[in-house]
């Protein structure tokens, strides 16, 4: 084999391998939660919360458009601003494609994250990001549907922090759970996952 032919052959193998890895992580067996239970479909969830504008919201508010939903709290210095910044970046990448993507932060710290607090906080990120809160029981109901967990942990300074499920849940427009984007997942994996959830919507609309 000539040197050039050899080079091309190796290149082709590398490309096929890269495509396979991409498929594996985005659509293949590598997709979805590593462990733990999958979230219910939005249509099977039952909770009532309040959005950043004070309006009543529920899982039904999300049906009809694909959705990104994640849990967090505004007193979080690392994971939550990183997630909100990552999501803002994905939405920027998707541009007008993502215009009708529901993007929801549900707080796990309703004591501190009031409607007003959340409204101010989300205003610092992509304008599409909403912040939902409620009573402790309402938050517990929501987390139950998403199979998300959270826990209050006392801090050294007399304050407290919250451990919580950090992945971003992706649902298609019919409310079907599509996949999880793991915490701080690179955007070359995250953005194709969101595109897939949005394609599912197009298919759903046709059928």
């Amino acid at each position: 084999m000539g040197k050039a032919a050899k080079f091309i052959a190796i290149g082709a193998v590398a490309i096929v391998f890269a495509l396979f890895i991409g498929w594996w992580q985005v659509d293949g067996p590598g997709a979805g939660p590593v462990s733990g239970e999958r979230p219910l479909p939005l249509t099977a969830m039952d909770f009532n919360l309040t959005d950043q504008d004070g309006a009543d919201v529920s899982p039904a508010s999300l049906i009809g458009q694909p959705s990104l939903v994640f849990f967090g709290f505004t007193y979080c210095p690392d994971v939550c601003p990183t997630t909100l910044s990552d999501i803002s970046g994905w939405l920027d990448d998707l541009g007008t494609e993502a215009e009708d993507l529901n993007t929801i932060l549900i707080t796990v710290d309703p004591d501190r994250d009031t409607v007003e607090t959340l409204a101010e906080y989300v205003s610092y990120f992509h304008p599409q990001i909403q912040g939902w809160t409620g009573s402790e029981d309402q938050i517990a109901d929501a987390a139950e549907g998403f199979r998300a967990t959270y826990e209050k942990v006392e801090g050294a300074d007399g304050g407290y922090t919250m451990n919580h499920t950090a992945g971003v849940f992706l649902f298609d427009a019919t409310g079907r759970f599509v996949s999880i984007i793991d915490y701080h997942e690179p955007r070359e994996f995250a953005v194709p996952k969101i595109r897939r959830a949005m394609q599912d919507r197009a298919e759903g609309a046709e059928s």
Partner: protein, 160 residues
């Protein structure tokens, strides 16, 4: 950019007390350290009630491993290094970090999702566009003060 070098205060003090001829003598001491910090940044805070977070990369050009053992900052009533961990169920938690060893010739990054400088009890808000001094305390006695630029609330890295 934002590269700061520090000499071990201890070595310097010893050099002065022993009346060694030049400062370079202290730099040549075998247990000397040469630690630098690159790309420090913090996110602006919303008010003062929430803890702030800052990030940076530490480089150790010395001959021995040194550990980051603590932080001090006037802007924070309680500054410490925290570590974020995400378990196999995708649950993230944040705990005070153990001492962080930086091997000779190596670097350690405080970056989103890993280590962060946790600035509790903010004494004044972290205002975008300003900087604040943060002192890193090392196991060999080195105290390194860094000026940390404050970026936007939604900053993703040292470039904004």
């Amino acid at each position: 950019m934002f590269k700061v070098f520090a000499k071990g205060f201890l070595g310097l003090a010893v050099a002065l007390v022993m009346n060694l001829p030049t400062m370079s003598a202290a730099q040549d001491a075998s247990n000397d350290t040469l630690i630098s910090v690159e790309n420090p940044w913090a996110r602006a805070s919303i008010g003062m009630s929430r803890p702030g977070g800052a990030y940076l990369t530490i480089r150790n050009d010395g001959k021995d491993t040194v550990s980051l053992v603590g932080l001090r900052a006037e802007i924070s009533g309680m500054a410490s290094v925290h570590e974020t961990r995400t378990n196999s169920d995708g649950v993230s938690s944040m705990t005070p970090a153990e001492d962080i060893a930086i091997p000779a010739g190596g670097t350690v990054a405080l970056e989103p999702g890993g280590y962060h400088a946790m600035l509790m009890q903010l004494q004044s808000p972290l205002v975008e566009g300003e900087t604040f001094p943060l002192t890193l305390l090392f196991s060999d006695g080195t105290e390194l003060e860094v000026n940390v630029p404050i970026l936007g609330v939604g900053a993703r890295g040292p470039e904004g």
